[in-house]
Amino acid sequence: MNYLVGAFKPPCNIFISFTDGRSRKQVPLKKENGKTVMVALFQSQENIVGEVVIEPIHGKKVEHNGVKIELLGQIELYFDRGNFYDFTSLVRELDVPGELYERKTYPFEFSTVEMPYESYNGVNVRLRYILKVTISRNYVSNIVEYQDFVVRNYTPPPSINNSIKMEVGIEDCLHIEFEYSKSKYHLKDVIIGKIYFLLVRIKLKNMELEIRCRESTGSGPNTYVETETLAKFELMDGAPVRGESIPIRLFLSPYELTPTYRNINNKFSVKYYLNLVLVDEEDRRYFKQQEITMYRNLEAS
């Protein structure tokens, strides 16, 4: 058995590691098989430095047409499975064609890598970064090893961050004015605001604030839109009367949010909305949806 297994096993092991792997922050990443692994976290413009160790299985020699390492940024659309769009692709040749008899270490470095997009794992789309080591061979298939890593980009707090303020209503039934203190929130932010009831002629039961995530993929007729409600947060219990103002304070930290992604490489977008829902006693729902912009803030993460 051992022999058989050995026959199909690649003739060598490949290890990819980062120079600062020990000190670098690790974040969880969900793999295709559903398992979560911890991987290194980078941001754009960082140097990605490390080494690749190739260790032939004892006594075997590995004949190759060259060894290279690629840094790939890929977008994978699930409805178009198997097709990866590489928006970033950097290659370093590690070795010229030859033979490997023993363990060999190749340092590599991609300096100030432009990684404009963040890693993202959505419903219909995935954006990922990988290091791919390829040992090219003649006649037999290449030996390939991947190492995922995660990219998160921090944006400074926006210089302009207006509040969202709006008066909405149904004529002669319900008029409310709501206000969210900001239109742009970082991921651990708190939504502060209030709802002011100008006119209430329907019997309300409660009011909640939803955080909805809208992921749209593809373009033109092949656009897929997936909306997910990430949070349902009850703001009010019971029926208010005219003149009441109801406070809003929603902590975003418990929810798994990402920054807003707009038109990532023309492939997908992820947008966030606050949906204010008023429910009346007959369970009719009145709602008003407002887009908010999420950003990743260095200090808060």
Binding site: K203, N206, A231, K232, F233, E234, L235, M236, D237, G238, A239, P240, V241, E244, S245, I246, P247, R249, F251, S253, P254
Partner: protein
């Protein structure tokens, strides 16, 4: 709906079960110091409070269960060695809960620890909590949540002297917090009326009143805050509370809260803020029972005033009376459809107030009464019995306070109020007045006051138009009239002239009383006049040359007129007695012709009016008795009268009566004083005549019934013999007595006589007396010596 209560029980049981279930897991999490789980299960537990199905009463039960559990949770939160999270983080963490109600309960719980930890100023935390609680707009749930907030924050307010007081946290923040919570709670409570559970208004109101104490508790907390001094109460607390009370426009809430304000804050605060407090009253809803509110306020202030004399200057200083009086006026004006009883109740309270606070200010009392008259005059007729009772209370209050009707008589509005009473009540009130006079033994001594007094009690003095005579209760009537009669005796002045005026006034009033009343009042009046007469006699020496009106003759004329009025009743027996009294008085004044005139009247009455034989007997004895005492008559007049009297005596119907009257007449001829008439012969004649009549009676009895008549008559005559014998009437001899005794003994022993134990005893003691006199020796012994027994 039929089994609504059953369903409710079921829902409550389910809710309790839910709480217990989650509490169990929560305890487990607490024991294992698992914060996440603790938060999860506590939130689930608190979710049971989200029910809308329970009435306030049942909801309270549920709430108390959760409350107990929250106390355990609080202990856990407090000990950060157990969960390792700072209180600040904890404060955020609990806010992650998705449902608002559990979230806010947890927030309040952590909030209280947050304040305790002093990591943030108490005022900030309190403000945040009270603001966040706005999220619960459901009346019942909101009220309970806020009452939880009030509960946990009570001992953490930045009050003066509290450990939470700091540079940033002042008592003002504490007050602001409580006021805000109060305002919000009241809004929720009021809102229940319009959107709460339950369809029927009464049911809703009942449910609401079950919750009222939750709201009122806030005012209680306010009153407990040390830092709320008069200044702050005046400037901040009261205006803001009142603003809420007025603005909520809900009668139930307004009534309850006004009452609450009055009850929880100190009296002196009320006194100093009277204007503000009273200013709110006319702004309340028309359906609010303002009168009770004001009454309570005045009652409190009255008690306060009564508690110590030291506080009275305060009342004067703030002009409490005029403020209250104005306020009441405004309230009554504003609430046009307030029933009369309400308005009068207010006046009663005001009156009580002024009586306690300004007992010396009669003008205040009169002012209140005047206002009441004004109010009453707008009402055509008072028919509400409760209103009537209040008027009685109003009128009784000054009497009780001053214990002196004289004071009340000086109140010009007093009779005007009485005019508005119905007949029955008017009488009742008149009785109260009379009883007050009796109780305090107050003497009404001027004619003017008497005039006013009789004006007051005119309900008793005469028939008032429209009174239903048939309805009169005989006993009540008698009691009333007896009281009037007693009252007349209380009218007295040492000055004969004034007294005469009084009598004339009383006469003027009583004469219109009609035949039913006269018998009661006339005798009082007569005796009152007779007293005046005696008074006059006593002073005779000094008042020579007084006006002619004051002669006894005048008074006797008056008396005659008074007694004559009885002829309308008619009440001859009474008139006769009164004439005889007057005759005696005339005797005392030594005016023969007047005395003779009175006797004439008496005899006339006897002849013409007194037909009943029993009455005749009584009358003749009265006449004899009076006549016997007269010493004013000359021989001629006296003879005429005694002759008449003996004549009438002998003409009585029954022999026994004749006999007794005749032997009584014997006294007319023997007046046992120094210069009294002593006509022994005629005495003997009378006695003999009596004996003859007794004999005749005896025979008649034998014939009629076959048995002996009354032996006692003989014994009685024997006694007369003995009397005159003792007094030295020479015509009465011992042998006559001896003969009489023998006669009696014979009669007693005859078979035909029925044994009569009374007569036997009478005889025995008479004989014993003779025996006694014999043994006494001396002159008397000698006299009796010759009588053999």
């Amino acid at each position: 709906m039929l089994n609504g209560t059953e369903d409710e029980e079921k829902w409550l049981a389910e809710g309790i079960a839910g709480i217990q279930h989650n509490a169990f897991y929560m305890h487990r999490a607490l024991d294992s110091n698992n914060l996440r789980e603790a938060l999860k299960y506590s939130a689930q537990m608190l979710s049971e409070l989200r029910t809308s199905k329970l009435s306030p009463h049942k909801y309270y039960e549920l709430y108390m269960r959760a409350f107990d559990e929250l106390k355990r949770l609080e202990l856990f939160f407090k000990d950060d060695s157990k969960h390792g999270v700072s209180v600040v983080d904890l404060y955020e963490l609990v806010q992650h809960a998705g449902n608002i109600l559990p979230r806010l309960y947890l927030l309040c719980t952590v909030g209280s620890i947050y304040i305790k930890s002093k990591e943030a100023p108490a005022k900030e935390v309190l403000k945040d909590l009270v603001e966040m609680c706005r999220g619960v707009q459901h009346p019942i749930r909101g009220l309970f949540l806020r009452s939880y907030l009030a509960q946990i924050s009570r001992d953490k307010l930045p009050d003066i002297g509290s450990e939470y007081e700091g540079d940033a946290d002042t008592v003002m923040d504490a007050v602001d917090f409580v006021l805000q919570n109060f305002t919000e709670m009241n809004k929720l409570w009021v809102r229940m009326q319009h959107q709460g559970p339950g369809g029927v208004r009464e049911k809703r109101e009942k449910e609401r009143s079950e919750l009222q104490d939750l709201v009122g508790k806030n005012l209680h907390v306010l009153s407990q805050i040390e830092g709320v001094d008069l200044e702050m109460y005046k400037e901040t607390v009261l205006p803001r509370v009142l603003e809420q009370v007025v603005n909520c426009k809900d009668d139930l809430a307004q009534y309850y809260l006004m009452d609450c304000i009055i009850q929880v804050f100190p009296d002196e605060y009320h006194l100093q803020t009277l204007e503000t407090l009273l200013g709110a009253c006319p702004q309340l809803q028309p359906t609010v029972d303002v009168k009770t509110v004001l009454s309570r306020l005045m009652d409190r202030l009255s008690n306060y005033a009564a508690s110590s004399a030291d506080v009275l200057p305060e009342f004067l200083q703030v002009e409490a009376f005029s403020k209250l009086s104005n306020a009441i006026g405004k309230v009554i004006e504003a609430q046009l459809d307030m029933p009369a009883v309400g308005a009068i109740t207010l006046y009663v309270s005001l009156l009580t107030f002024t009586l306690r606070v300004h007992p010396d200010r009669l003008d205040h009392v009169d002012q209140v009464l005047g206002a009441c008259v004004k109010k009453l005059s707008n009402i055509p007729k008072l028919e509400d019995s409760r209103a009537m009772k209040q008027v009685v209370a109003l009128l009784s209050a000054p009497l009780e306070k001053y214990n002196d009707i004289v004071t009340a008589l000086t109140l010009s509005n007093y009779p005007r109020v009485m005019d508005h009473l119905d007949i029955g009540t008017n009488k009742l009130m008149a009785m109260v007045i009379i009883q007050s006079i009796m109780k305090n033994n107050s003497c009404i001594s001027t004619a003017d006051k008497v005039e006013v007094l009789f004006e007051l009690i005119k309900g008793l003095i005469k028939d008032i138009d429209g009174a239903d005579v048939d309805e009169l209760d005989e006993e009540d009537f008698k009691e009333e009239q007896n009281s009037v009669a007693r009252l007349i005796h209380m009218l007295y002045n040492d000055e004969p002239e004034e007294m005469l005026k009084i009598i004339c006034i009383v006469r003027k009033h009583t004469m219109v009383g009609g035949p039913k009343r006269l018998p009661f009042t006339v005798s009082s009046l007569v005796f009152s006049a007779l007293r005046l007469l005696r008074q006059l006699q006593g002073q005779e020496g000094d008042i020579v040359g007084e006006e002619a009106s004051m002669t006894p003759n005048k008074i006797f004329q008056l008396l005659t007129q008074i007694i004559e009025s009885l002829s309308a009743v008619p009440s001859p027996e009474l008139a006769l007695r009164l004439y005889l009294q007057c005759a005696e008085a005339a005797n005392g004044c030594d005016i023969e012709h007047v005395a003779y005139e009175f006797f004439t009247q008496a005899f006339l009455l006897y002849e013409e009016e007194i037909a009943d034989s029993k009455a005749q007997v009584t009358a003749i004895h009265l006449i004899i008795g009076t006549l016997q005492r007269m010493n004013v008559f000359g021989v001629e007049n006296r003879d005429t009268l005694t002759h008449k009297a003996t004549g009438y005596s002998a003409r009585l119907l029954k022999k026994a009566d004749q006999c007794r009257a005749v032997y009584a007449c014997s006294h007319l001829f023997w007046v046992d004083d120094q210069d009294g008439i002593k006509d022994g012969e005629r005495v003997l004649l009378c006695l003999k005549r009596a004996l003859r009549i007794a004999n005749a009676a005896q025979q008649m009895a034998n014939v009629a019934r076959g048995s002996g008549g009354p032996v006692s008559l003989f014994v009685e005559i024997l006694n007369k013999y003995i009397y005159f014998f003792e007094k030295g009437n020479k015509q009465i001899t011992s042998s006559a007595i001896q003969g009489l005794i023998e006669l009696i003994n014979t009669e007693m022993q005859s078979d035909s006589t029925n044994p009569d134990s009374v007569a036997d005893a009478f005889l025995a003691s008479t004989l014993r007396y003779i025996q006694f006199q014999k043994q006494k020796g001396g002159v008397m012994g000698e006299k009796f010596e010759s009588i053999k027994l």
